[in-house]
């Protein structure tokens, strides 16, 4: 929210105003109170408010009268009614006058915050809508994902294969993808997430164009993968599990690629590179990114100078 929404709470009970103020101020809203409809009208005439929360049953100027007046004089103000056990008739009347929402009294902080948030969005012209996968990813991707889900769903134990295919399609497994799989396979979301978080193959972070996987097996350890890894980390400025800012590379550590004979080993995308040294590794990585190639070149030149000087 660019600016805190300004809210006027109208009730003839000071307790209600107090508690609403306490709850909403904590959420960052600008809240004022008015004891009754008359005071509210005076305040609205002098200040501008985004939202008015009002009780219905008040002495003198009651809620319905206040709403009618606001709708006529300041139609842009959003109105929410706070009322104890609202009857169908009052709801109907208020709705016909054009209120946004109602809060049953007594309310809990959570309910009030929730309603306020919705009302603020409403006045700001936003539609409160759940994000759909097609808004984040191309529709073709969503369609492909659905196809995979449908193909697999009759097979028992298909969650892991589906997640693997999904990761191939989308590149990673953000919550929105997992939720779609949860629904499609009729598996609780928590279970999908728990499976995703269990296996190191799955990632919830987007990956780079090229995925560098460094073997952390024993043979590679003994043969010095750590220095290679350090070099890659330093050059790309990322740690294991991260992706470079330009989304070119992501770096992963893998438990033994089973190519111990060639230790230390590194895999980029589908290609395995053996007998790595820090320099060799950089040379290979630079094939995937010209910018890195330049940096490597620079370093080699420097080394040559040292060599000559020596």
């Amino acid at each position: 929210m660019a600016e805190a929404a300004k809210i006027l709470v109208v009730d003839d009970e000071p307790v209600v105003i107090k508690s609403a103020e306490r709850v909403l101020r904590a959420e960052g809203y600008d809240v004022e109170g008015a004891l009754g409809g008359r005071e509210a009208i005076l305040k609205i005439e002098q200040n501008s408010y985004d939202l008015v929360f009002t009780d219905l049953k008040m002495p003198e100027v009651d809620g319905i009268t206040l709403i009618r007046w606001i709708k006529k004089s300041n139609p842009s103000i959003g109105i929410v009614i706070i009322t104890g056990y609202p009857s169908q008739d009052t709801i109907k009347e208020a709705l016909e006058l054009g209120i946004i929402d109602y809060v049953p009294k007594p309310f809990t902080p959570a309910v009030l915050v929730d309603v306020t948030k919705r009302a603020v969005e409403w006045t700001a012209g936003r539609k409160p809508e759940e994000k759909k996968i097609t808004e984040e990813f191309p529709p073709a991707m969503a369609a492909e994902l659905d196809r995979v889900i449908n193909d697999y769903k009759i097979k028992p134990g298909c969650l892991i294969p589906v997640l693997q295919r999904a990761q191939e399609i989308v590149g990673y497994l953000p919550p929105i993808v997992q939720k779609r799989i949860s629904k499609g396979l009729n598996i609780p979301q928590a279970e999908v997430h728990s499976v995703v978080s269990f296996y190191s193959f799955f990632t919830m972070k987007p990956r780079g164009d090229h995925n560098i996987r460094v073997c952390l097996g024993t043979a590679c350890y003994v043969k010095g993968i750590e220095t290679v890894l350090c070099k890659i980390r330093d050059t790309l400025k990322i740690d294991i599990g991260d992706t470079t800012e330009n989304r070119r590379f992501s770096l992963e550590g893998v438990r033994c690629l089973g190519a111990c004979g060639l230790a230390p080993v590194m895999v980029i995308d589908q290609d395995t590179y053996g007998a790595m040294t820090p320099k060799k590794a950089l040379g290979i990585i630079s094939r995937y990114d010209p910018a890195i190639a330049e940096a490597v070149l620079q370093e080699t030149v420097e080394e040559e100078i040292v060599e000559k000087e020596g």
Binding site: L257, A259, G261, L262, V265, T272, Y273, G274
Partner: protein, 127 residues
């Protein structure tokens, strides 16, 4: 392949033997490039490609090129085995595309193993 019967297994075995053993198949030589993960990582694909190029350049038709899995000695990959009729197989190691070209000319076409690249001669004990 159609469904097999037990007799077919035997027949396939015999037929394969006659087709693919040098003696009965009428081939000059058989080259096996070892393409396990290690081999591929060490550059077996380039070796394979170079060999195929050479064969097609030389317009030779009686050399079988085949691939196989890991040969065991990962430290010396890429490895290839060259068999010439009536001679025990020779294993070459630490290959490159240049080396395989030389081996093709000298050993496969010329019949003389390239000692400097060779690792070992003979077959392993399998039983």
């Amino acid at each position: 392949m159609p469904r097999l019967t037990i007799e077919d297994l035997q027949k396939i075995k015999e037929k394969h033997k006659s087709d693919f053993t040098l003696r009965e198949g009428g081939y000059r030589a058989k080259v096996t490039v070892h393409m396990g993960t290690c081999g591929i990582a060490a550059g077996a694909r380039a070796v394979m490609t170079a060999l195929m190029d050479e064969i097609s350049k030389a317009n030779v038709t009686d050399v079988i090129v085949t691939t196989s899995g890991c040969a065991g000695l990962c430290a010396r990959e890429p490895l290839a085995t060259v068999e010439i009729m009536n001679r025990p197989p020779v294993k070459y190691c630490d290959l490159s595309d240049e080396k395989i070209k030389e081996i093709f000319k000298e050993h496969i076409l010329g019949g003389n193993p390239v000692e400097k690249y060779a690792l070992v001669v003979g077959s392993e004990t399998t039983y």
